[in-house]
């Protein structure tokens, strides 16, 4: 992201309320978000379909791991293969690391989200942030948050999709403990990060 581009970025400010986001200049008013319960039911049915069709749940962090493992393997194969964590995502070499269930699933997530966003007039290049913080700082925080998230997800063997949703629906002990801690961790830090969002 160059500084030049930043000027053209739209920022989600106080003026746009969090329930719907209007797309100025296009004439298309953005639709409000769905009733959360209906969206939740939809999500739950997709999850159920995953259980019934494939015997596993949804996920996301695994796709990132596969991609990283594949990239490292391209650049430094010896290192990748000797690293126990990455090796787990490379397998025994018979299948391409990107030919993984989660990678395809995540590609689907992109497609589905884009479709929904276009349908609702919510798809546009923008930076989501609170009114008091600059774009640059926001992006820095996003990057940092991603790093933290990677650690959390790998320690917990999943993220909110894989562990909380999937494991939650299967009454998995670890998943419920994890889910609880996510909320605890989030609320604990929220006050200190409020300058980013409020």
């Amino acid at each position: 992201m160059t500084r030049g581009r930043a000027h053209h970025l739209e920022v989600n400010d106080v003026s746009s309320d969090h329930r719907s986001a209007a797309m100025p200049g296009s004439g298309l008013p953005a639709r409000p978000y769905w009733n959360p319960y209906l969206a939740g039911i939809g999500l739950g049915l997709v999850l159920l379909a995953a259980f019934v069709l494939v015997g596993r749940g949804l996920g996301a962090s695994g796709a990132f791991s596969s991609t990283v493992a594949w990239l490292v393997n391209m650049v430094a194969p010896a290192h990748a293969q000797s690293n126990e964590f990455l090796q787990g995502y490379l397998g025994d070499g018979t299948t391409h690391p990107l030919k993984a269930w989660l990678v395809f699933e995540v590609l689907g997530v992109m497609a589905g989200a884009l479709f929904s966003g276009l349908l609702a007039g919510r798809a546009r290049i923008a930076v989501e942030k609170g009114p008091r913080v600059s774009t640059a700082v926001r992006l820095l925080c996003a990057f940092a948050g991603g790093i933290l998230m990677a650690f959390g997800a790998h320690l917990a063997r999943g993220c909110t999709s894989g562990q909380a949703l999937t494991g939650g629906a299967l009454l998995n002990v670890g998943s419920w403990a994890f889910m609880l801690m996510v909320f605890v961790g989030g609320y604990a830090v929220a006050w200190f990060m409020r300058w980013q969002w409020r």
Binding site: N35, Y37, I41, R56, G57, G59, A60, S61, G62, G88, Y89, L90, G91, D92, T95, P97, A100, W101, L102, A153, R157, G158, C159, S161, G162, Q163, T166
Partner: protein, 215 residues
Amino acid sequence: MKLPALTLNQKLAAAALTLGALALFSVPHRGPVVTLDARELALIVEKEVDHVTPSELAGWIVQGRSDYRLIDLRAEPDYAAYHIPTAENVTVAALPEFPLLRTEKIVLYSDGGIHAAQAWMLMQAQGYRAVYTVLGGLEGWKDEVLYPALPAQASAVERARFERAVALSRFFGGEPRAEGGAAATAPMELPRLVAPPPSGAASPVAPRKKKKEGC
């Protein structure tokens, strides 16, 4: 009497609570409790389509096939002393929890065949349809593959078959028995465990697939 109009969310909540209450009586099929179709299983047993002969198995190993999982049901020390190449050690007690796909071909063996047969029944009850036992178990393996014997008055066909058996036996480190000799009464020394067949069969101990099902 008119019911007050419920909002969508209230209706959803009511539906959820109703379904939840009904679920109180559920007994989901998970864990060690299984149901058996006695008639179906009896038919399978009678048709004897659930066996694999030692020679057949030997052929698969030589060909380097990887579409089966060979399970040795004996105790760990016995397995360590000798096991059929490509076999994995899973005792009967550990079998129900052992991760096996229902789409894989599973071949069981024990010393004689009793444990294998019992384990076969357990696996069928759990829904595995492609389970087989090695006919005769390890004893059968010794007799047929490791130490084949040529009957006293052998026909030409039998001699030809024996030649192949001899080659197979040597491959697995065994020795054909003397012609016309009865099975040796002294316990035969089992061959030292040979390295996996050179035809490229994957070592059963190495990690088979990459992390598949986690998040």
